[in-house]
Amino acid sequence: MNKGNILGMRDSFFVELLRIFKNDKNTFLISADNGAPTMDLISDLEGQFLNVGIAEQQMVAMACGLALEGKSVWFYAIDPFVTIRCLEFVKLDMCAMNLPITALGVGSGYSYDNMGPTHHAVGNIATMRPWPNLTIYSPSDNIIASALAYISYEDRRPHYIKFDRTTPVNLYENKPVNINHGLIHTKSGNQVCIISTGRMVHNAVKVAEKLDKEGVSTGVVDLFRLKPINSALLLEILTNYQKIVTYEEDYLIGGMGSAVAEILVDNGIFKHFLRIGQKDAFVYDLGGREIIWKRLGLDAESVKEKILHWLT
């Protein structure tokens, strides 16, 4: 059985973070009253963990104070609550002072499907993307998530990592992956390239396989580092393709598709370009993530149809 099915990407991250914490007592994790079985071992490390209660602004401000005194700090809660809830603290106390603090948000996109607009992690990329000094990661599997524990430790600057609740399979098990590249050419093709991030990379691979069967050779790029985007490598990969699609579980305004569009425009790349994402609406639909995807036209079958329609 693939280990991705047992542990989520957050858990893979915490397993590695625990190793780091045991080796370096100058590390610290703050939680706003969120836990995880894999986090418990860190929570028990004396002088390296604190629960501030349900108080996200305090979580970030305290992280700032700890970091100013020399600690490497991570803070953790559900994705909307480490971002939008305490955004100004992230902007000023973490990014503007360029401190070694990492925001860990669990539940990307519609991970918390039935919990409604309060817990849906959409709009976060657009919200977090502008802030200088911040590096943003959206891993697609546990292999990348594990590596990010070390990246966020060694690179003493602000980071934001958004984890999905689930990892269907590990995309990069036993495959050479260079995390420093910030993106992976997950699947090759020569006509259409689908760029995606996080959990949706798995869907993108499905869409690409469907399109291949329809006679459209389709590749996939996993954009797991959303800021800064490795635009040189991305553009190099895109030279192999005629048409470009971005596919994300987020609003079209300011998200990953917007970021890619900015790079294409700024570099004078005027290929056919389609952004697929969520319409401008709040989601109150229940029944699970697959239902939400279907209603938003973000499931693999709908996306395949959308791309085929666009190609004709």
Partner: protein, 302 residues
């Protein structure tokens, strides 16, 4: 900290008068700056930096043995700059370039300025940051005698909920190495903080019992009296009560000139024209009076 001798007291009052005149001059030249906030803090900040309260080193503003002082009400920066220059953190000429090209002295305090710890200006950030610094001192077994974490907030600033989030951490972890100083100058930008007279006002009271209920030892002090200020800070390293300390300094927004003192709408206005003449005259008269008293007490001409 020394007991305040009469002559020393007059010298400090003269210094406060100089700080206010300097603040006014900087604000007028730059056409910007929170003059009345600065005027409410002059004696308090002088006590901290020139009355032997805070530990710092001029040759290394990041010296690890220093006390951490966080000016959470960042708009008061114009009030601390003359004092930081006076004690020697940076040359006095820097004050003449307040808000100017290549200056580090902005409207709000920024960490590039020697003597300033953190970026503030958006209110309600300082105390949470202080709690992190205080927690590290606790983890490292550094006593409050060795290192104090002091955070100065405005009174209006306490409306920010993040302060109350920080109070819960401070109480839960009993961070008794924290000294919260509240500049109780009774005014927001447009409203009062102590009474509901108009629709612009918000009442923070009873502030003392609120802070006590959040686990603080609370002290009240008249914020423009050097002897009282010296006294309230005298034992902050050695006090036996194992609670965080809150000092509420009762101050007057715009203190030093009756023309702008305790009046609405002077939060972010720089006096000009006849207004400026009024304020300058008030400060000049105070200076002449203090110089007379200084000579009577045996002070020497400069």
């Amino acid at each position: 900290m020394n007991k305040l001798a009469p002559l020393e007291h007059i010298e400090l009052k003269l210094k406060a008068n100089w700080v206010r005149r300097k603040v006014l001059q900087m604000a007028v030249k730059a056409k910007s700056g929170h003059v009345t906030t600065a005027f409410s803090l002059t004696e308090l900040l002088l006590t901290l930096y020139e009355g032997g309260v805070l530990k710092y080193r001029l040759d290394n503003s990041k010296w690890s043995g220093r006390d951490r002082f966080i000016l959470s009400e960042g708009q008061a920066a114009i009030g601390i700059y003359p004092i930081l220059a006076d004690v020697g953190f940076f040359p006095m000429q820097y004050l003449d370039n307040f808000l100017g090209e290549n200056s580090t002295l902005g409207v709000h305090s920024e960490p590039h300025t020697p003597g300033i710890e953190v970026l503030t200006g958006s209110l309600g950030h300082g105390l949470g940051i202080a709690s992190g610094m205080a927690y590290v001192a606790k983890l490292d077994n550094i006593s409050k005698e060795e290192r104090l974490i002091m955070c100065l907030t405005g009174d209006g600033e306490l409306c920010e909920g993040s302060n109350w989030e920080a109070f819960i951490t401070i109480q839960s972890r009993n961070l008794d190495n924290i000294v919260l100083v509240v500049n109780r100058n009774h005014h927001f930008t447009i409203g009062r903080t102590d009474s509901i007279i108009t629709q612009r006002d918000v009442c923070l009271d009873p502030l003392t019992s609120k802070l006590e209920s959040f686990g603080f030892e609370v002290r009240l002090v008249p914020g423009h009296s050097f002897p009282k200020l010296f006294s309230v800070f005298a034992d902050i390293r050695t006090r036996n009560i194992e609670k965080p300390l809150a000092i509420i300094a009762d101050t007057v927004k715009g203190n030093g000139s009756s023309y702008i003192a305790d009046k609405r709408f002077w939060h972010y206005r720089v006096p000009q024209g006849h207004e400026l003449q009024h304020v300058e005259t008030d400060l000049e008269n105070e200076k002449l009076q203090l110089e007379k008293e200084y000579l009577i007490l045996g002070g020497k001409h400069e």
